[in-house]
């Protein structure tokens, strides 16, 4: 069966209909985890497995706030391997290269199903080679909490890496050896998993601020280290110096100004990449020049937005994840830097923050003539990322903008059809690249506003032709038809399938 973006949907999965179809359905909520009065403090992962009687076939979840410095998922995986548990379902919010041990578990049949929002590195390789016996399901940051709260993704045990835990079993992410700031991606796991384990390397008497409430916690595991600070947050996120990236960013800021989005009360979100930060930098200059004050910036927060908020350019920062040291510092000390759960960030049924965004700046590995965007695979079908908040913010924001080079490594980025649909074209409004700007024809309002613009407005077909006139026609690839997983849209429907390499 094919879905509404004409992609194959395997049997047993619901096909994607449209990005607003969730509005036709009721929110489903299972009961929150029963409040627990007994918290056990343990010092060895083996004791946790014994105490909770973790068995083959169960679903285990993790968050990715410790990013490429995370030790907790690996610690659990080593114990799974030692016990040779089989048929586990892993549900981490993201999988990084540092989680390479999971590749062994998949090859060995210890883990046979995976749900995640983002995936790259060795685990992506083995899944792409077909070693996962069950299915890989790629969720969105908003889709995951929806899936957990509705009972579609029941979690038996949530292992929550927690930079600091107090003696009562409450947790906080902003301080400790492995401080990472907001723990937004872990909240649904905390509230709905059958058993919750906080894993920490910093046990304190008491906490001034609490993100993880002890009432949901069953076990606190105290270990020497939960992560490598070098891999958790980058020292400083920096604006690109690449002239193409700067040109794209400059045009994007001018475009935002021309369509009237840079105004008092504006809200915005960008990624943490160099070009995204350059957009923020140019927007900052316009805001300062015109004396504009925005309402909030959201998402993964970087030091750049911290600085903008300190300068009075935004009232608040709404943060699901801190990307750098400055953001962690601000999260601890700035009352206007507010944490939020992934559900509040992007769950379509939780009146999410993304619905209040004026503009979001997003990337793309491919975009097609229908404005469908791929951030999940490369052009060979290899999994190199995932939606994260891409589909969520693209749908929620009033204007969604893709910024990307028109040509990367001699390959045109605009395709007839993207290899994998991550975000549907109906939610993508504008493409900005170094050789022009394409507006989605359905946004007649934007085309009207820009009809006298001096910016290089073109159709996406014109940009496609321009790119191909430079690169020539790329050779068509015959990709495998063996399904290894699905890309799940935020409402739980399948927007595309993933294939063996």
């Amino acid at each position: 069966m094919n879905n509404k973006v004409n992609r194959f949907v395997p049997e047993g999965y619901r096909p994607f209909v449209s990005s607003s179809d969730y509005q036709n359905k009721e929110r489903k909520l299972i009961k929150e985890k029963k409040q627990n009065n007994k918290i056990v403090f343990l010092k060895d992962i083996k004791e946790v497995f014994d105490y909770l009687n973790i068995q083959s076939g169960q679903t285990i979840s993790f968050h990715h706030h410790l990013r490429n410095g995370d030790y907790v998922q690996n610690m659990v995986s080593q114990e799974v391997l030692r016990r040779d548990l089989k048929d586990l379902h892993y549900a981490p919010s993201a999988i990084f290269p540092s989680n390479a041990i999971l590749a062994d578990l998949i090859k060995n049949g210890n883990v046979t199903n995976v749900d995640t929002n983002y995936l790259n590195g060795p685990v992506s390789d083995v899944i792409g080679e077909g070693y996962l016996k069950g299915m890989l399901v790629m969720n969105t940051h908003g889709g995951r909490p929806r899936k957990i709260e509705s009972g579609e993704l029941p979690i038996d045990v949530a292992f929550i890496a927690t930079p600091t835990v107090d003696k009562n079993g409450n947790g906080y992410g902003g301080i400790g050896k492995a401080a990472c700031g907001s723990l937004g991606y872990a909240i649904s796991d905390l509230m709905y998993a059958k058993k919750v384990v906080l894993v920490t390397d910093n046990l304190v008497d008491s906490l001034d601020r609490i993100e993880l409430d002890k009432k949901y916690v069953d076990v606190v595991l105290v270990v020497d280290s939960i992560g490598d600070p070098k891999g958790i947050v980058s020292g400083t996120t920096k604006i690109t110096k690449d002239p193409i990236g700067l040109k794209i960013a400059n045009m994007t800021a001018k475009l935002l100004d021309e369509i009237g989005l840079i105004k008092d009360g504006m809200s915005m979100q960008t990624g943490a990449g160099g070009t995204s930060l350059a957009v923020a930098s140019y927007v900052k200059n316009i805001m300062l020049e015109k004396g504009i004050k925005g309402s909030f910036a959201s998402g993964g927060i970087t030091g750049y937005f911290v600085d903008m908020q300190k300068k009075g350019l935004f009232d608040e920062l709404r943060d699901v994840q801190c990307f750098d040291i400055d953001a962690v510092e601000s999260y601890n000390n700035n009352p206007h830097h507010i944490g939020m759960s992934a559900s509040k960030y992007a769950n379509p049924y939780d009146d999410p923050v993304v619905d209040y965004l004026d503009v979001v700046i997003l990337g793309a590995t491919e975009i097609d003539k229908d404005f469908n965007v791929n951030v999940t695979t490369d052009s060979y079908g290899k999994i190199i990322g995932g939606s994260g908040g891409h589909s969520d913010t693209a749908h929620g924001a009033k204007v969604s903008i893709i910024t990307t080079n028109l040509i990367k490594s001699r390959m045109p980025i605009i395709k007839d059809h993207v290899t994998t649909v991550t975000t549907p074209g109906e939610d993508i409004d504008i493409l900005v690249c170094e050789r022009g700007i394409a507006i989605n024809p359905k946004r007649k309002d934007l085309l009207e506003k820009l009809k006298n613009s001096k910016l290089p407005i073109k159709t996406i077909d014109e940009l496609y032709e321009l790119a191909h006139s430079i690169t020539g026609e790329p050779k068509k690839l015959n990709l495998s038809k063996e399904v290894i997983g699905v890309v799940e849209y935020r409402d739980g429907t399948v927007i595309d399938s993933l294939y063996r390499k």
């Binding site: 002239p243 170094e434 001096k454 430079i470």
Partner: protein
């Protein structure tokens, strides 16, 4: 009329691919200093293929050939000169070389039955060339002169500094000569690509001395250069008012009149028109 000229190495495919997107008025594809001796042939061939496959560029296409004191310039000219380029940049320019170059270009244009008449941008980068500049600007095909401060200061055996005191005289002399013959006076590149404040200061000073354009060695320098060498909004507003007042005065039969308490006569009117011509060319009005 140019504001900015961006140098791009002729042997770098990735940079060639994007040469037209940065908004410089001209791109100088370099076959000289940016290309190692061992890569002269491959760079020349790459440039040839690039020019053949990228005709009709939105900016002026300039190729810096190897000097007429080298073994490479003839092959450069034979392969590169075509209707796909606009200008040749000649390093270490002398009057004698410019006359030779004119002869060679005339021959190639005839042989290839070209539609274009190739212009020449000499680089003043020898002390003797500074002394010859009044003659150089009169040479056939020359419609702009570039100061090459790095080689010039080496020839002068003086230290190159950011303040640029050592190039004050050649800057002023080149600007004067170019303005006398109404061709472009193009300033030397600012070589610290991370110092944008320094670049701004340097470009403003060159402009004060009469330079009307500046070369760049990195695309990120172009915004600053294009802004400095474009009339300001205040200048454009003033010039538009002068144009309107001139029209009204002319209708009354007046050749000289007063605007904001200041006399407006022919030189002032011409200055206003020059500002407006530049602003119109570069899309500022």
């Amino acid at each position: 009329m140019r504001r900015s000229l961006l140098f791009i190495p002729g042997n770098n495919p990735a940079m060639l691919q994007n040469a037209d997107v940065f908004g410089s008025d001209a791109v100088i594809f370099d076959l000289e200093d940016a290309v190692n001796v061992l890569q002269k042939d491959s760079a020349r061939n790459l440039m040839h293929c690039y020019l053949e496959t990228h005709p009709n560029q939105p900016m002026e296409v300039v190729v810096r050939i190897n000097g007429l004191d080298t073994d490479y310039y003839q092959k450069d000219l034979e392969l590169i000169v075509s209707d796909n380029i606009d200008s040749i940049m000649l390093p270490k320019a002398r009057v004698v070389y410019l006359n030779q170059l004119d002869e060679m270009l005339t021959k190639i244009e005839k042989e290839k039955k070209m539609k274009k008449h190739i212009k020449v941008l000499p680089i003043i980068e020898l002390a003797v060339s500074v002394l010859e500049v009044e003659e150089i600007v009169k040479c056939p095909r020359v419609d702009g002169v570039l100061l090459g401060a790095e080689d010039l200061t080496s020839d002068m055996e003086v230290t190159r500094t950011k303040a640029g005191v050592e190039i004050e005289y050649p800057r002023a002399r080149i600007a004067m000569a170019c303005k006398a013959y109404q061709i472009d006076a193009i300033d030397t590149p600012f070589t610290d690509v991370n110092d944008y404040e320094g670049l701004l200061k340097d470009a403003l000073h060159a402009q004060e001395l009469g330079m009307n354009a500046k070369s760049a060695i990195h695309p990120n320098q172009l915004d600053t250069i294009n802004k400095v060498f474009l009339p300001t909004e205040k200048q454009i507003t003033w010039a538009l008012r002068v144009r309107q007042a001139t029209k009204e005065a002319s209708e009354k039969g007046l050749g000289v009149f007063s605007l904001d308490g200041k006399m407006v006569d022919k030189p002032v009117m011409e200055r206003a028109e020059k500002i407006l011509m530049k602003a119109e060319k570069f899309g500022a009005i």
